[in-house]
Every structure is written in structure tokens, then in C-alpha cells.
Amino acid sequence: MSISVNALFFAAYRDLVGTGEIAVELSPGATVGDLVQALRARGAPFDGLPEQPAVAVNRTYAFLDEPLAADDEVAFIPPVAGG
């Protein structure tokens, strides 16, 4: 049994990984931090993501210890620069 979450990449992170969205399989009970680790473990280009990126889960900012559920939308948020 595993859960699938949707990882979104914006701006510099999108440029880095070369896509805006990928599905990632995780163990039940996995956290945002586990997702980051799983992605970085894929090697280049994903190991270029920060170890502790800012993320939003389902469009709300979240800490890395936030637990994930199936079909969560986890956006990797580079430092923001609106205005």
C-alpha cells in the first residue's frame, strides 16, 4: 500500500526539474520532509532542490513535518517575489 501525491514546481524549481507537476508514491504516514527526501534521492535534477524547501500543501503553507494524505497537492515554493 502506498499513497500518491502531486508535487508542483514553480519558477526556478520548475526550471530546475524541467516540469511543473509529477506524481510521487509515498508510504502511508509520510510527511512533506519524506517527499522532499524521496525526490532528492532520484538524483539529478531533483537533488538540486533544497533539503528544506518552502512548500504549500493543498494551497496552504506547511512545515516539513506535515503528514501527507493521498492526492495531496504539494507545491514547492521558491522564495517569493511578488509586487
Partner: protein, 152 residues
């Protein structure tokens, strides 16, 4: 009346200002953010604004609501544009009105400061030499290691 929008349309600051104001209001303020022709001394020819629109829109609305609740104005409109912008084009317009001036100044300032801290929008500068680069930004609060500071 509190309104927040993320749009790809050209922003008309006068139209944004026209949405606030009230016979009981003695002050109105309009802030306009514009693409400028340089960054840290380097010539810039244009700017691309990217957004996580599905989140930027509600985050902008939350900021507007906070400004209204904390700073005592009930007339506030903020519009942020995305896409490719030329020099001199408006990236953001914020209008507020209030019975007295302090609330309009404070609310408008609050909204632009919070936008820069929290709204998932990014900009890529196009330089005169043909290169481009993402503008260094700010890590939003409420992210990273947990509030308790423990490892994830």
C-alpha cells in the same frame, strides 16, 4: 468592499482607485507597482511574472481581509498581474479609502509588504544583454522546519 484579484489583463490604476471611496471617506490612497528599467544597476528590458494562481488568489484575499480587519478600512482593492510585462507596465495596484488618512496609508502599505512576503508569485527579469534571471525572493513564513524547530 474588499476585493483581491490575480489577473493576466492589463491593470488600469484609475479603475482600481474608482472602486474604493465613499461619501463617509475623507481619504483614498493608490499604490502602483511598475516594472522598472533596472535592477541593482543592471538594465532590464522586461519582466515575467509567474504565479501559483490557485494559491496566490486566496492568499491575496487573505491579506486584504487582514488589512481590513486590523487596520480599519472597509474599502480595499488589490489587483496583481502575471505574464510578460514591459517597462512601465503596472504589476500591482492597491487602492484603499477610509474616513481618515492613517487607515488608508497603513492598509495599503500592509498589503504590498505582505504580498512581497507571502504571495506565491515570482518574477524573472529580462536583461538588456539577452540573459534573464529569477529575482531573489523571500521565504514565506509558516514553511521549512516546524514551528518547534525540530527536524522534519
Amino acid at each position: 468592499m474588499i476585493e483581491a484579484e490575480v489577473t493576466t489583463d492589463v491593470i488600469d490604476p484609475t479603475e482600481v482607485l474608482s472602486r474604493v471611496g465613499d461619501d463617509a471617506h475623507g481619504a483614498a490612497l493608490l499604490f502602483v507597482g511598475v516594472v522598472r528599467d533596472h535592477a541593482d544597476g543592471r538594465p532590464v528590458t522586461g519582466m515575467r511574472y509567474d504565479a501559483y494562481v490557485e494559491m496566490a488568489q486566496p492568499e491575496l484575499a487573505r491579506i486584504a481581509d487582514e488589512a481590513a480587519a486590523r487596520l480599519g478600512t472597509d474599502a480595499l482593492v488589490v489587483v496583481h498581474r502575471t505574464g510578460e510585462l514591459d517597462i512601465g507596465e503596472v504589476s500591482v495596484a492597491i487602492a484603499a479609502s477610509s474616513p481618515h488618512r492613517a487607515e488608508s496609508f497603513d492598509a495599503t502599505r500592509y498589503v504590498i509588504e505582505e504580498i512581497k512576503k507571502r504571495v506565491p508569485i515570482w518574477k524573472k527579469e529580462h536583461y538588456a544583454d539577452g540573459r534573464d534571471g529569477w529575482v531573489a525572493g523571500v521565504v514565506p513564513p509558516g514553511t521549512g522546519l516546524s514551528a518547534s524547530g525540530g527536524a522534519p
